[in-house]
Amino acid sequence: MNGTKDALKTLRRGFLSGAGALTAAGWIGGAASGWLLRPGWAHAAGPIKMGIATDITGAIAPSGNADWQVAQFTVEQINKEGGILGRPIELYLEDTASDPKIAVGNVRRLIQERRVDVVLGGITSAMRQAIKDPIVNRGRTLYIYPQLYEGQECTKNLFCTGPTPAQQCDKLIPYLIKTVGKKRFAMPSANYVWPQLLNKYARKVIEANGGEVVFEEYYPLDQPEYSATISKIKDGKVDCVFNTVIPPGLQPFMKQLFESGFQKNGGVLTCVYFDENTLNYLPAPEMEGLYSCLDYFQAVDDPFGKKLQEAYSKRFPGTKYLFTAGAAATGMYRGIKFYEVAVKETKGDLHRDAVAAAMDHAVIENGPGGGAAMVPGHMHCRMNMYTALCRINNEKPYYEVVDKADMVDPREC
């Protein structure tokens, strides 16, 4: 490091000239692709190349952009403190466009053109499934997946840094049954893999704690009408709705549930993917009394997390892409930090097997919501989990952390 600690520059490469040559000649271009975040200094061994593959456009662009900003923020922090063993991190972005079909092509550019040392990203399970093969198997590159998900991803050299069903259910459900006193659960769900596997696990925990699942149902993602579901909730005397309906079906479901008076009559709604982003997504009255369980809330009383949030808001003033758990941003932060720890242990050896071996038992001291530790041989990490209750103040919803569990086991693989 030679003291050029100035802020990193975001460079756009390529541009029209490059793209034009590419299309005209068919094989000349190629300089034009992706975003590049280049550090302000160099190292003899060259930079460590980190690829981010996330959804910058398309349906889940808000989460993807949050992930990208957090990646930039975290890498800038690492580089400012001298990089990893003096080597700066160079960051490459490819847009997965919320479309696995496009993503499998784009992610290859990180592997084949950029030859990155590690890829982080993917938000939905469909995306992870699509891009893991080009990265891990064909591309022989380390892959870190940052989002809360349904579990059962046990591919070698693929590390998951978001919460698993066990982490989201093991504390929340006993809390709902024993402390809040709810017994009869309903599971309205969107019909895709995350709700199905999450519900399977949640049902076990509910039954083990003396609760009962009244019904478990799956709807098309865009279903606008839930009166049949609502009447089942009423008739079944359900007192806790464990919801995994997602947008765009979410808004009508929440509205109809609220209007049926479920909450007014003492019913409790829980929704484990709800974070600060979803606070303003729905009308405040519908949010009141909702429980969520994640690895981090901004309300968590933790000096490190508070400092992190402050620095993040300073780096991206007034941004609408928040540093939250539900958007996979906390998982992204942890993933990059785990990688940093692992590379320090290998003494700068970037070969996949060496880094993966070090990742296997990597520990990070601090992070949003606290530290985290990889469970050796399981490719998932222990982390603190928080149960939060949504309250309303001046018609503005906010989360209050009501329960905390230290270093919850992911129970995967």
Binding site: A19, G26, P100, V104, Q112, Y192
Partner: protein, 344 residues
Amino acid sequence: MLKIRKPLASCRRTFRALLAVELLVLAVLVVTPFLLQDRLDLITLATNIMILSIFGISFDMCWGFSGIMSFGQALFFGVSGYVVALIGRDLNFSAIWGVLPLAMLTGLILAFVLAVFLLLGRKMPGAIFVALGTLTGSYAAERLVSGWQYVGAGNGLSSIKLLQLGSFEFVEGFEFYTLALLSLLIVYLVCRFIVRSQFGLVLAGMRENEERLAFLGYRVQVFKALTFSFAGMAAGLSGALYSYHQGFIGPGNMGPGLSTTAVLYCLLGGTGTLIGPVIGTAAIELLSYGLSDIDAIRQFWPVVLGLVLLLIVMFQPAGLLGLVVSNRERIGSFGASARHSAHG
């Protein structure tokens, strides 16, 4: 008896632009891997373009040569892609001599079944009926697959077993490029032979004036069904290659979105030329690849593409190829060769 071989003077004199374009494209495809030796990403892109070209050609056989507006080509593409992926997953089998013919057979049978419903009914179906029928098939398949857990539902199938030749496994790169090039070449030559044969002459007549041909005693619908099935077979091959090459196949790969893409490849390149779809595919895929990192344009790229196509349909219906190949050569080549053989 003396019979003098008298080729048409006009045929000999005119510059054979179509042939020149075909040879040029072939030459480019042959030298590309040697020029791009250390750019694996671009070889991957070029391989993908050739695989999708086969898909484009399959649509050209339908619309460009026999007047079937097939909005469901992706159905055959996607189903074959899923079939080979499932065989790899559940039977652990991916030997090239088994899976590629199977994929073609899948496309063929599926297209034939659809043709029986859409084309071989008692009443002669209109173009709109066929277009909507194929579109519906494609749409229904996409919805069905996205809710079916056994085939991965919305997640699709990934980590597809690599295509094998003996113990050799095809990953992206030079070998897969060669395989795609050979497949494209074979499909292309077979299609070229078909459309320039007597069978192709019937297709051309059908496209120009279906009723008149029917009055002449041709069972037009049977010709259509045969072409449609053949095109399904080509799309099936393309889907299987795509599936192995990308290592991923999802519901989006059999829906109306991809079906429409085939239409775009064809219209942009030039319908009824076979080489047109290859050029159209290359143009669209290269542009998308080049533009995907320029934010300002990426957002509007589909709109731009749509406008370009609208303009092409309005002012240049013969596509990019129409700029160098005259209409006379495009359509008349059948006539010339037919008369040619009659004289010979």
